[in-house]
C-alpha cells in the first residue's frame, strides 16, 4: 500500500464526514469501510450488510440527536 495515498484517502473521508457533521463514531466506520474495500477489492455480502446496518444505526442516532 502507498502510505501517502492512504493518508489522502483518510483525510478525504474525514473532511467529507466533517462537512456532513457526522460523529467520530460514524466517521470511523466510514474510514474502516473505505480501507477494507481498498485492501480487499470487494466485500462479502455479510460484511457489507454488517457495515450498512451499523452505518444505518449511527445515522438514525445522529438524526435523533440533532
Amino acid at each position: 500500500m502507498n502510505m501517502q495515498l492512504d493518508d489522502v484517502v483518510k483525510k478525504a473521508v474525514e473532511a467529507h464526514c466533517k462537512e456532513r457533521k457526522y460523529s467520530p463514531k460514524l466517521t470511523k466506520l466510514m474510514i474502516d469501510l473505505t480501507k477494507k474495500y481498498r485492501s480487499e477489492g470487494n466485500l462479502s455480502s455479510g460484511d457489507l450488510g454488517s457495515y450498512l446496518k451499523r452505518i444505518e444505526k449511527a445515522l438514525k442516532k445522529e438524526k435523533k440527536g440533532a
Binding site: 456532513r20 473505505t34 444505518e56
Partner: protein
C-alpha cells in the same frame, strides 16, 4: 501498491512467423535497463505488441488478432508441411523476487486462445497473477496500450491520452477504482436484494409502477452502455482509417513528379493552419473578456459599478452578520434587542445578501473598476482574416498541384479526398453521439435536453417516472439520477428507507474520496512530469498543464498544444508513466514498437532524449533502418542487443536454399551488420 515488475523473457511458439524462440532480457549487460529486439519488417513485432497489450489486461483476442497470430512462416515456403507443436505466446514477468509466466495457448486453427499462468506456486489455466499486478493491469487495456506503445498512432492529437484513459489509469493505480465499483454496483445490488426480501409497506400498484420504471431504466442504461462501447470502438477504427487515408494522400503526393512542390506547400499549409487555429483561439479569449468591448459599451458598466461601490456596497451588510446580532440579543450599541428592534433587523436581513454573494459582489466591482483592455479585437480580427486568406491560397495551390497530375493519379486523390471527407463526417457524428451518451456535466446535459433527454426530464427539471419517458433518455448520467430516485422510492415502499440512506451516505463518501484522490494524483503527476519533461529538452518547452480532461500540454507561451510529434508524444508518455510510477510506487516496463518509424529527421534527437531519459525497463522493437537513424543510441552504453533472423539468412537478408527456423542472436556483431531489405517479407 508498490508493484515492481519487469519482463525477463518472451516466448513465441508456432505463431506469426516464429517457430520456437525464447528471448531473454539482459543478455549483454545486467545493468542496462533498455532492450532492443531487431527483426525485419513484417515478422510480427506489432502483433507481439498487441498480444502483450491483451495478455497483461486479461482480454480476449478478437478474430482479427487471432488471424494475425496464425503461423505462416515456413508453411508459406512449403519448407515444412505442418506446425510442429502447440502454438503459444508467453511472457516471463519478474515481480519482486519471483517469476510468473503468463501466456496464451492457441488451437491449431487459431480460432481460440486460452490464457494460462505458471505461477511460483503452480500452473493455472487462467489469469492468476500476483494480486498487485492484477490490480494494476487486469481489465486495464487503456494502461497496457499506453505502456506498450505503437508509434503508428502517435502524434494524432494526443488521443491516446484522453480523459477516460488518464482517469481510469489513475483510479486503478491509486486503488480507488474499487470504490467506484462499490458505489455503482455492489451497494445498489445489495440494497435491491434486501428490498426483495423485505415486507412491503406501500401499495401493490405503487410498487408495480416503480418496478416497471426501474426495469426500463436499467435496460436503457444497458443499451446505452452497449451503444457507447460500440461508438468508441468505431471511433477508434475510423480514426485509424482516416490516418491511413491521410498517409495515402501524402504517399500519392510524395510519389508524384511534383513531390517537392507538394512537400513545400504541405509544410506551409500546416503552418498556416496552425496560425489560423492559434489566432482564432486568441480572438475567442479576447472576446470573452468584456474589458475588450468598445468603450462605448463597457464604460457605462464601469460607471455603474463605480456608483455601486460608492453608494450601495459600503452600506451592505451580510445577512449572516445580522443573524448573529439577533442571536446574541444585544445590538452593537449595547442596547438589548426587543420586539421592535428584532422586527427591524429581520426586515433588513430579508433585504441583505448572503456573505458568499456579498463577497463575490465586492470582488466583481473591483475587477470591473480595475479592468483594462487586454487585446485589440479589431486588430486580431484583421490578423485572422489575413491568415485565413494565406491558408486558403495554399489550399488552392495544393488543389492546383493535384489538378496538374495525370488522370489516374487525380482519380486516386479524388477518391482519397472523398474517403477523407466521409470519414471526417463519420468521426464527427460518432464524437457527438459519445458525448451525448457519456456527458456528466449537468449544465451541458440541460442545454441539450431536447435531443438528449426528451421527456425523461420533466418540465420542472425533475426525473421522469413513466417507463416510456425513461426509455427516451440518451444520456447515461441522467438515467443514473432517475435510477437513484427510483431506488429511493422502492426502498421507501419496501420499508428499508434507512438502509437505503446508509447506502447513499457511503456512496457520497466514496465519491468524495475518488474526487479528492484523483485531484491529488493529478497535481503530483503534473509536478513530477514537469521535472521529467525537462530532461527531454523539448524544443518548445512543452509541459503537462492539466490532467482533468485528459492530458493537456502547453508550450512556453502557455498555448495549449493538441497534436504532438512522435518524439513529443513519446516524451510525454514516458514522463507521465515515470511520474505516475513514482506517485503510485510502481515500476512497470514500457515497450515501444518502431520508435522512429516515419519520424521527421529533425525529431530524432527528441526521440533519442526520450528513450535515454526513461528509467524503468524499456523494450524496443525495431527494424534495421531504425538502428541507423539513432546511431548514438543503439550502442553498448544504452541497450542490450538482440537480432531475430532465420538460420540460413545472410546479413543482407538473402536466404540460403533452405531458410531454416528463426533464431536469436544477442551479439553486437550481428546486430550492427544485419541489413535485410526494407520491404515486408520473412
Amino acid at each position: 501498491m508498490a508493484l515492481n515488475c519487469k519482463i525477463t523473457g518472451m516466448n513465441w511458439k508456432w505463431i506469426i512467423n516464429f517457430e520456437d524462440i525464447h528471448w531473454k532480457a539482459n543478455q549483454s549487460s545486467k545493468k542496462i535497463h533498455a532492450e532492443t529486439i531487431l527483426a525485419r519488417n513484417g515478422t510480427g513485432k506489432t502483433t507481439t505488441l498487441l498480444l502483450l497489450q491483451h495478455l497483461f489486461a486479461n482480454e480476449e483476442l478478437s478474430e482479427d488478432l487471432l488471424e494475425r497470430v496464425k503461423y505462416r512462416g515456413l508453411l508459406s515456403t512449403k519448407e515444412i508441411k505442418k506446425i510442429d507443436g502447440v502454438p503459444e505466446f508467453s511472457v516471463d514477468i519478474k515481480i519482486g523476487t519471483k517469476t510468473w509466466t503468463l501466456g496464451y495457448k492457441f488451437d491449431n486453427k487459431f480460432s481460440t486462445a486460452t490464457i494460462f499462468t505458471q505461477a511460483p506456486e503452480g500452473y493455472y489455466d487462467s489469469y492468476e497473477m500476483h494480486a498487485e499486478f492484477s490490480t494494476a493491469f487486469e481489465n486495464n487495456h487503456e494502461l497496457t496500450k499506453l505502456l506498450f506503445f505503437d508509434t503508428q498512432g502517435a502524434g494524432s492529437d494526443g488521443r491516446r491520452m484522453n480523459k477516460k484513459t488518464i482517469d481510469e489509469t489513475m483510479k486503478i493505480l491509486a486503488n480507488i477504482k474499487v470504490l467506484d465499483h462499490a458505489r455503482e454496483t455492489y451497494i445498489p445490488d445489495f440494497i435491491e436484494a434486501e428490498r426483495k426480501k423485505s415486507d412491503k409497506k406501500g401499495s401493490e400498484t405503487e410498487k408495480k409502477l416503480a418496478e416497471q420504471a426501474m426495469k426500463r431504466c436499467k435496460s436503457t442504461i444497458k443499451q446505452l452502455n452497449e451503444k457507447l462501447k460500440k461508438a468508441e470502438e468505431d471511433l477508434g477504427s475510423k480514426r485509424e482509417q482516416l490516418d491511413k487515408v491521410k498517409e495515402n494522400i501524402k504517399g500519392a503526393h510524395d510519389n508524384s513528379k511534383f513531390r517537392d512542390a507538394f512537400k513545400e506547400t504541405e509544410l506551409l499549409l500546416l503552418k498556416a493552419r496552425n496560425k489560423v487555429k492559434g489566432t482564432t483561439k486568441e480572438l475567442l479569449n479576447a472576446l470573452m473578456d468584456p474589458a475588450n468591448l468598445s468603450s462605448k459599451l463597457w464604460r457605462p458598466v464601469q460607471d455603474y459599478y463605480q456608483q455601486l461601490s460608492k453608494s450601495r456596497i459600503p452600506t451592505a451588510i451580510a445577512s449572516e452578520y445580522l443573524s448573529s446580532v439577533l442571536y446574541e440579543g444585544e445590538c452593537i450599541c449595547g442596547n438589548e434587542i426587543h420586539g421592535k428592534e428584532e422586527k427591524n433587523i429581520k426586515e433588513r436581513m430579508n433585504k441583505s445578501m448572503g456573505l458568499a454573494i456579498l463577497s463575490e459582489v465586492y470582488i466583481m466591482k473591483d475587477k470591473v473598476k480595475d479592468s483594462k483592455v487586454t487585446s485589440d479585437i479589431s486588430l486580431l480580427g484583421s490578423r485572422l482574416e489575413t491568415e485565413r486568406t494565406a491558408r486558403d491560397k495554399l489550399e488552392t495551390k495544393l488543389a492546383r498541384l493535384e489538378g496538374q497530375l495525370g488522370k489516374k493519379e487525380r482519380k486516386t486523390l479524388d477518391e482519397l479526398g472523398k474517403s477523407q471527407q466521409r470519414l471526417e463526417d463519420l468521426i464527427s457524428e460518432l464524437e457527438d453521439n459519445i458525448e451525448m451518451y457519456s456527458c456528466n456535466a449537468m449544465g451541458k446535459i440541460r442545454s441539450n435536453k431536447k435531443v438528449w433527454l426528451e421527456r425523461s426530464m420533466t418540465i420542472g427539471g425533475d426525473t421522469a417516472s413513466k417507463p416510456e419517458y425513461i426509455g427516451e433518455c440518451k444520456n447515461i448520467y441522467w438515467l443514473k439520477q432517475i435510477k437513484n430516485n427510483l431506488d429511493k422510492k422502492l426502498s421507501s415502499i419496501a420499508g428499508i428507507e434507512d438502509l437505503s440512506n446508509a447506502g447513499e451516505a457511503i456512496t457520497d463518501v466514496f465519491e468524495a474520496v475518488e474526487i479528492e484522490v484523483l485531484a491529488h494524483i493529478q497535481n503530483q503527476v503534473i509536478t513530477e512530469s514537469t521535472k521529467h519533461l525537462a530532461k527531454y529538452n523539448m524544443q518548445n518547452e512543452l509541459r503537462i498543464h492539466s490532467l482533468s480532461n485528459g492530458l493537456a500540454c502547453v508550450d512556453a507561451n502557455g498555448n495549449v498544444q493538441k497534436g504532438f510529434s512522435t518524439g513529443e508524444e513519446l516524451a510525454i508518455v514516458f514522463s507521465f508513466i515515470s511520474a505516475l510510477s513514482k506517485v503510485t510506487e510502481l515500476s512497470v516496463p514500457m515497450i515501444v514498437d518502431n520508435p522512429t518509424k516515419g519520424a521527421d529527421p529533425s525529431k530524432l534527437r527528441g526521440i533519442q532524449d526520450s528513450l535515454q531519459g526513461f528509467n524503468h525497463q524499456l523494450i524496443l522493437f525495431i527494424y534495421a533502418t531504425e538502428r541507423n537513424t539513432l546511431p548514438s543510441y543503439f550502442n553498448k552504453k544504452n541497450v542490450n542487443p538482440c537480432t531475430l533472423m532465420r538460420e540460413n539468412e545472410k546479413m543482407d537478408g538473402t536466404d540460403g536454399k533452405k531458410r531454416g527456423r528463426y533464431k536469436i542472436n544477442y551479439d553486437w556483431k550481428t546486430f550492427d551488420n544485419y541489413h535485410p531489405p526494407t520491404k515486408e517479407g520473412v
